[in-house]
């Protein structure tokens, strides 16, 4: 976003637009955190040259291409590979030894956006010789982001950061083993993808689809209000096997989960929890 002052957002119009999106396209933003949504829609108003949200609403109702592009504004975010290296280090050093005890592994990367976190997980598992018996479900609501994730192509300018993060996370190999560079892009090794299933799933409207040993959902809950956070955490609770693990963002918490007591702190600083009780 540039330095222009964002257009003013009228709350009545905001609610109407969210409702229109829900009823027409079945994407449910009704429980997204309002402050972020306002900013993103303000940016979209500039992009679509709309003076009011009502104008934008009218266009998205009548032009499906406008909605497809608007969805980018409302959902997409860019992440890094091995963002917060200490999180991946904690997974590697504390969680992986326990994951090893399962004959086969299922891992859910929820809200995977363009895939950086799912691939980071796959590389970590490959380094730990676990990838061959693992299946990573990487889910998101945005079809464009999922296509980008599936392609596994990233901006080469970000590779030095990725490489540094990977090293700090305790990476046992060189990140360059997993990509080939072409011009200003890198493409990730296709073999990483064999064990990743990218699919469309909404934490707001869909239900549990598999039993998993680890859920990693980082910096997704920040975009939800407390009710939706609680719904998402219920899904994670239900999806996790007994003693399964949940990793969230470093500034997120489980306070608003109805199962808050059912998750024990496992690596507190790195926001990794273990399910207690249940089955």
């Amino acid at each position: 976003m540039n330095a222009e002052v964002a257009p003013a957002i009228n709350d009545v119009e905001l609610r109407l637009l969210i409702e229109a999106v829900y009823q027409t396209y079945h994407y449910d933003f009704r429980h997204y955190a309002r402050a972020s949504l306002r900013r993103r829609l303000a940016a979209a108003m500039v992009r679509f040259d709309c003076r009011t949200l009502s104008e934008l609403q009218s266009r998205l109702l009548h032009e499906s291409q406008v909605f497809a592009e608007l969805l980018e504004y409302m959902t997409v975010q860019v992440s890094d590979m091995f963002r917060d290296p200490s999180y991946f280090r904690a997974l590697r050093e504390k969680v992986v030894p326990l994951l090893r005890t399962y004959p086969s592994l299922k891992i859910w990367v929820a809200g995977c956006s363009s895939g950086e976190e799912a691939y980071s997980m796959a590389i970590l598992l490959r380094e730990e010789n676990l990838l061959d018996r693992s299946l990573i479900y990487a889910t998101d609501i945005n079809p464009t982001a999922l296509r980008r994730a599936e392609a596994g192509i990233y901006d080469a300018a970000k590779v030095p950061d990725f490489t540094r993060n990977h090293r700090l996370s305790g990476g046992r190999s060189s990140l360059s083993d997993y990509y080939s560079a072409a011009y200003d892009r890198v493409i990730l090794d296709k073999s990483l993808r064999r064990n990743i299933v990218f699919s469309d799933h909404s934490l707001a409207t869909d239900s549990v689809f598999a039993e998993v040993q680890l859920v990693s959902c980082r910096n997704v809950l920040i975009y939800f209000d407390r009710d939706l956070q609680s719904r998402a955490l219920d899904l994670f609770y239900d999806a996790l096997c007994r003693r399964g693990f949940l990793g969230i963002g470093l500034r997120e918490s489980l306070r608003f989960s109805s199962h808050v007591d059912a998750f024990a702190e496992f690596a507190r600083e790195d926001r990794i929890y273990q399910k207690v009780g249940g089955q």
Binding site: I222, R251, R255
Partner: protein, 198 residues
């Protein structure tokens, strides 16, 4: 100087600083009086590795509680809140905090303008926004939003700031209400409303 009598209640103070900001805040924040009613939000640009200890560093020097923000924290009066490194800090309905990992604004995350704009929407004329030393121009757009919402805008006198660009960018953009030295800002803090028993 004679402190300008704040002609209205201030329920929130949003502060933005970049290069030279640690030193400026080390003078300003301890001047916030005990019993302060307003909530104080701070965005300070720092390299990511260095930024996570701000509450720890400032708490022992301050007379009001100091916190690092976690997602969805409620906003309490009389408390200083620091934006966490590498997230935008937003004021959401409630009021409560929201964090986002949206793209950097003016090359910054957290961005001062993002805080100022969302705080302006929440507090309108009851917000005081304070822009301190820094290179670049993050915060100028935010000051404009605060101004438009009827809030009070204050910038550090560019001549006194270690880096004058940020306050100057705001001055170039809008008619800022007050241009003050750190000393004058500290005096201003003394004039803020406090709870009776403090």
């Amino acid at each position: 100087m004679t402190v300008m009598a704040l002609e209205r209640d201030v329920t929130a103070i949003a502060i933005g600083a970049s290069t030279g900001g640690v030193e400026a805040l080390a003078r300003l924040l301890p001047a916030l009086p005990p019993g302060l009613q307003a909530s104080v939000f701070v965005v300070l640009h720092l390299p990511r590795e260095r930024a996570s200890l701000l509450a720890e560093i400032f708490a022992p020097r301050c007379r009001v509680p100091v916190r690092d923000v976690q997602d969805k924290d409620p906003i309490c009066g009389g408390t200083i809140y620091f934006a966490p490194p590498d997230y935008h800090l937003l004021v959401d309905d409630g009021p409560q905090f929201a964090l986002s990992m949206d793209d950097p604004v003016e090359f910054s995350r957290p961005s001062i303008s993002v805080l100022f704009e969302t705080a302006a929407a929440a507090y309108r004329e009851r917000l005081l926004a304070l822009l301190l030393t820094g290179a670049g121009s993050d915060g100028a757009a935010g000051m404009q939003a605060v101004h438009a919402a009827g809030g009070i805008t204050v910038v550090q006198q560019p001549g006194e700031a270690r880096m004058p660009q940020m306050p100057q960018a705001a001055l170039d953009r809008i008619a800022v209400d007050y241009v003050l030295t750190l000393e004058e800002i500290m005096n201003l803090f003394e004039a803020l409303p406090r709870t009776v028993h403090a």
